[in-house]
Subunit: 114 residues, 2 copies
Amino acid sequence: MNDSKFNLDGRIWIETAGEKILGHGRVELLERIKESGSIRQAALQMKMSYKQAWDLINHMNTHFTSPVVISHRGGKGGGNAVVTDYGLKVISQFHSFQVKLKAFLAENSSEINL
Amino acid sequence: MNDSKFNLDGRIWIETAGEKILGHGRVELLERIKESGSIRQAALQMKMSYKQAWDLINHMNTHFTSPVVISHRGGKGGGNAVVTDYGLKVISQFHSFQVKLKAFLAENSSEINL
DNA sequence: TTGCGTTATATAAATTTTAATATATCGCTT
DNA sequence: AAGCGATATATTAAAATTTATATAACGCAA
């Protein structure tokens, strides 16, 4: 254990061909789309522009093996967006890595001696 | 083992009071100052401006328990900069965390199934 | 068939970051 | 004491990023 005023923090992400394809923020975006059924609402909740959210989703959809979000325009409510089963799998795997990272950081934080 | 086209990557850093104080880039900067004895040369090698390098060093010097770099102006060669013993300790501890992170990422990369 | 709310996309404006430039200080060297 | 090369610091310019705005497409509902 350790009462140092310093602590270790970190981030992980998934890459393909050296390019970041999924991190922290994108996962939260997917989760909010899953809850709200709307790209717009998810973007508002996260205080990002619709464009920014759309770009992130488009990037994921074109780089993962299958799309993570399917969207429709027009119709009841004006349109909607749905996280695919594949998208749910992506979220779930990222979460399990996050849990492990958290443990890693806690362990090592206590090793800091500066 | 895993031949997925996806891989896990990540970064770690040391914080104090929620503020990032040491990461990847700063460690490299310290190492290059240690080698060259010059902030300017270290900055040139890393293709950053002198100001940027100086700001980073100043931030570390004022946030760590002790300074990590001592610099002198004037004199032989125009001036110089030296990494302190404390600075060397900082580098060394960060490296040991980096090694562990690398192992963590390799282990978990092979778990990706997308 | 008009209106509504959302997706989709482009363009322009604003902001923030980053980089470049300039100037002063310092102490050894010649 | 004048010059050199590096540190130190402020100011300006440029670049990159972010945000805002505008427009069109879409399909259901009233």
